[in-house]
Symmetry: C3
Subunit: 338 residues, 3 copies
């Protein structure tokens, strides 16, 4: 079993950006929502709609703002950013198993001329190419395959069954989830007008991933055609995102699951892109843009703000009538104009 984890509120306060009001020796052994938290559990209030649960919460302590701190009588950690402090606390409660050691499993198969420091952990059945360079504290999960000439920065984690193609570089503190593929060929084909078939454009670039990047399960990032595909520092990618060749994603941009980005699209910094969005190729999105779920970004965006496409949900019977009208919209407009 995992070691039982608990901390005093004083400890937790010291390790987060918060001020303690209450008993510094009070023992916290877990985290929970306001509604479900019990004695010994820490909760937080970040979204105003949950304020109704605060008064009656059984939480042993709550993370609150200066504005909400008086609404709860028990122990509290006070901060301007309760969700941020909660995030800091979650780190303390990640289970650490005693058996997790810095070892290279005997089944690992490694090529020549690799640089692997002592303080690296490589699990069973990992296959590593030639001239691979790991920095300290890299952790590689079971079944990962890492191509030739790959570089991975310190404190990065690859979960099991990740595939990294040749020459990809990954920065420090990356978290890469299972079944991710980085460096697969971009989708490049030239029409052969004689045969009506396709001639492959071999993809000669690679992928450069910055520092502090997280990549969700099943996401795929293609290598560039000539130059590199680039994922900036601090970028957070959810599951099953498709990033085509020569895309550039700016620093601290976060992209939700199932979004697909076509080739050579350039996305700015601090953007938040919701799930199932499509972004067409060869366009530019400026910094601080928000895209709502399932939008198709059909052109460049040069002004920060929120953008959308699609229609809102309806009953199918109503929707069908309106969708039929949509397909007569232009004609109807012209008729009205007359």
């Amino acid at each position: 079993m995992a070691k039982k984890i608990s901390y005093t509120l004083g400890d937790i306060c010291q390790q987060t950006d918060s001020v303690l009001i209450g008993d510094e020796d009070y023992l916290i052994h877990g985290l929970n929502t306001l509604q479900e938290a019990m004695k010994g559990e820490l909760s937080f209030l970040s979204n105003a709609s949950y304020q109704k649960y605060l008064k009656s919460s059984h939480a042993g302590a709550v993370i609150l703002t200066p504005d909400t701190q008086d609404l709860f009588d028990g122990n509290k950690l006070v901060t301007e950013q309760p969700y941020y402090v909660f995030a800091q606390v979650t780190r303390l409660f990640v289970p650490v198993f005693p058996e997790e050691q810095r070892v290279i499993h005997s089944s690992v198969i490694m090529g020549d001329h690799c640089h692997i420091p002592d303080c690296v952990s490589i699990a069973a059945n990992v296959v590593i190419g030639n001239r691979v360079h790991f920095e300290e504290n890299v952790t590689i999960g079971a079944g990962c395959v890492i191509g030739d000439d790959v570089t991975i920065g310190h404190d990065s984690i690859l979960y099991p069954n990740v595939t990294i193609y040749n020459k990809v570089t990954i920065g420090s503190s990356a978290i890469i989830h299972s079944q991710v593929v980085i460096g697969s060929d971009g989708f490049g084909f030239a029409p052969n007008t004689n045969t009506k078939g396709w001639q492959k454009v071999h993809q000669l670039g690679s992928v450069h991933i910055g520092h502090d990047v997280e990549i969700g399960a099943g996401t795929t990032i293609d290598r560039g055609a000539i130059n590199n595909t680039i994922i900036g520092n601090g970028v957070k990618l959810d599951n099953q995102i498709q990033i085509a060749h020569n895309v550039e994603v700016g620093e601290n941009t976060a992209i939700a699951g199932a979004t697909a980005i076509a080739g050579s699209a350039v996305i700015g910094k601090r953007c938040t892109i919701a799930g199932a969005v499509g972004i067409i190729g060869h366009i530019t999105i400026s910094d601080d843009v928000h895209i709502t779920a399932m939008t198709l970004v059909t052109k460049s965006i040069d002004t920060p703000g929120s953008y959308s496409s699609g229609t809102a949900m309806n009953t199918t019977s109503e929707w069908r009538k309106n969708a039929a009208c949509f397909n007569r919209l232009s004609k109807q407009f012209r008729k009205i104009q007359k």
Copy 2:
């Protein structure tokens, strides 16, 4: 080669919920469509639009309803649910290879304190963590990686290269296809307003999969932030579905491929959700709801029925004009009102 499979119609009738009219010794060696079936093959009529092929079908026997049984002169199996009986029959024709044995391959790497009964099959290069608990007749395909403290119920099958993270529980009779990931981190980050970067919210919950669940190739299911992500009994998930943290899917709901469900969405029982649907987070969908393909579910649904969004397909030239009108719709409406 696989063993040649054949059954008498009498045998097939006994193993399904049907009544035989015809020769109980007639030998069936395969299944086929009405149009393509030959002597010795069994077919079925379920969709009225295929009735035209019935009269001239060369099928050796056909599964029919009491209403349609008189339309065919040959052998027949009669039932109120022909497609259901056909489904029962398909099970009999799954090839069984003599070499499939209940063995644990010598290359399997297993942690400590695992509970693995004798009648379990684990293929080559599987990596299993500590304290893993399998019930009887579990089958694990080659290259699967199974984390610590995972539980898998009896008669469940994992196809090759599946990844299960720590602490996930899977019920009995599960069928999990290749490249599925269960238990990867939910997409949780708190904005750090000082650095404009993101603080990871470590995902402390897990995933609970019920009994009789099928999960298609490449589907990803994230672990919960605090509590668990929950997939109910009898749920059927197609390929490349993305299920975010703390989603709950009710019993016997079926979801088609490439659908993405955002965090904390709660989906009822017996829903049928078509392909490429998006469901936003923190909403509730009641029981017996149908969602059509590529709909974005933008709000909670509390009434059973069918729901849609989007527009219907058109030629691009017509579509372009109508889409331009859509973006002037509100202004045009106000103009007309005047």
Copy 3:
């Protein structure tokens, strides 16, 4: 390090469908865009919008058409299809590492009665079933799992961690990227009206992949219910495409990333389907059809041309007003009619 690659322009000309104007001994050591190319690098002009970069390009040579050849003073390769010739040249610059040899790694696990010619390369930890048949020059990446009775044609490449189920056949010169799954079960279930649950329709068909097919990372192709799922010769599939059971994709059709195709859809030859498209089941698309990004194909298409659905992007605030009007469209139309 990889061998340094360089060719004379004369060599390059001989290996492509082009005519050289300039110094046949000029040495080319890399490829680049017009803007970034330096001495010793070869570039191309295919898209008129890049013509402005031609005059001032430092490229050592440029691929041009008879119409544009006079716009550049340096060395040139002349052809009617510059992008096609560029594609031919990229092949010459794929790095070839001296250590790439035709070997079967000692860790490979193989079943009985396989046919594996000498000139085949199988990387570490590959697991191969029984009665598998490879033709010459097949390359299998690390961690791939290949089921029983699979056939793979000559010169085909599987990148690491691909999964091929039983009985799948793959033609010659295929390129299959990591995490692809071919042959997983189609999504087939019959409702059991008594239990309100689902009865699995076991998937008894397989998948047939033609020659010269490329399949992008994370794409999944399900096996047929009774007959086969079929991917024609020369088809190019991008990443994370979902192809359901009994789909047929015609010769030389190219499909971009994140597109999902429902069961029994039949797609013609030479179609180009953009990214994130949805195609519903049991419809037919004729040859030479183009579908724009994120379109939902809701019915059969029998005329070549371009087809679309959806709406164009807008600011969220404007979009919200127009989307609200869309949901009153039918009523408004009737009101106007009166």
